[in-house]
Symmetry: C2
Amino acid sequence: MAAESGTRARTRRAIVDAAVTLLAGDPTASLGDVATAAGVGRTTVHRYFPERSDLLAAISSDVLDKVEAATERARLDDGPAAEALERLCQEYFELGDGLTLMFDTPQLANWSDWDEETPADRHFLHTVRRGHAEGSIDAELHEEWVRNLVWALLYTAWEHTRTTGTPKHAALTLCLHTLRKAIAP
Amino acid sequence: MAAESGTRARTRRAIVDAAVTLLAGDPTASLGDVATAAGVGRTTVHRYFPERSDLLAAISSDVLDKVEAATERARLDDGPAAEALERLCQEYFELGDGLTLMFDTPQLANWSDWDEETPADRHFLHTVRRGHAEGSIDAELHEEWVRNLVWALLYTAWEHTRTTGTPKHAALTLCLHTLRKAIAP
DNA sequence: CCGTTATGGAACATCAATGCTCCACTCGGC
DNA sequence: GCCGAGTGGAGCATTGATGTTCCATAACGG
């Protein structure tokens, strides 16, 4: 909140970004590892985030912000709901490691001020219901299932690029192709 | 391998089973927690598995065995490939915590004698190719993608029961419904 | 160019998980 | 019912992560 000097802001970003990347690969990575990855001394990490939980909270908040921003860019209220979800998928896909982290470390939400219900989440579920009403999304698939499905597909797509070396765009195509067919009525 | 006395075999099972359940929920659970969950002393756990890695190897081997057994029960070579995959999905779904554990702790494979290629995996990929050939599975979806997709759907289904309280059978239905549509040509 | 600001590293205390040992106890199977 | 296999708990050493302090130094910015 309080404006930070340019230097401090930059260092803070470096630490958070490095932590996201590192923790996405190994949620048990030590703070020393994070410091090294960020190109910073362990002492400096502690200066910004006195306790591990402080760092996790910062990460959580950072990723949630990005999710919110991505959700807005997807313009969920424009056009058919099914197409809106595909746009959202593309936006979320760009989140990369942040996505992976949120997917397999849901406890992360607890470290931040997240009450189960973010605006992005509400907007997502609302869009699915709109799809049900207008008939562009299979009515048998509950909102929550569709949300979980989207996250799982995105996670799978990233995993797919890591293990098979498939290029990002190809993985995204597979992901969207699969989603489109899965949610079609 | 060497035949164990009934008592030892039972204790060993209790520890492994408890560990699977516990680690599925929290991969960082301590050996003390595992001992408590298994209803045995921490000393006993060490007697059976001198190091943590020994326990992980045992778990890995145990789960892999169950996967192999489930794969055989699915009779992948009978009938259309798409239907075979649905049967497999139902069998895998029954693995419960073991499934969750393998999904979000892939490193587990390293602790056992797993060379990237289990018979079950080979059989699975082969079945997908059969589906491509006979036209019952969308040819645009590579074998590896379908495999990852199936695991992700199963994981999501379990997650769905945990977070929304949906009954198991309903989650499985959603899972199968989604899979069927996703892999259809 | 100079002073404030930020950093890195060393050193230290703490803590929890682990791995290991010993011994008394009990429970299972003959 | 007896005896040995199997168990549990207390205790102890080790290790790695964490959190904290202090000081010398680097670099940022006016």
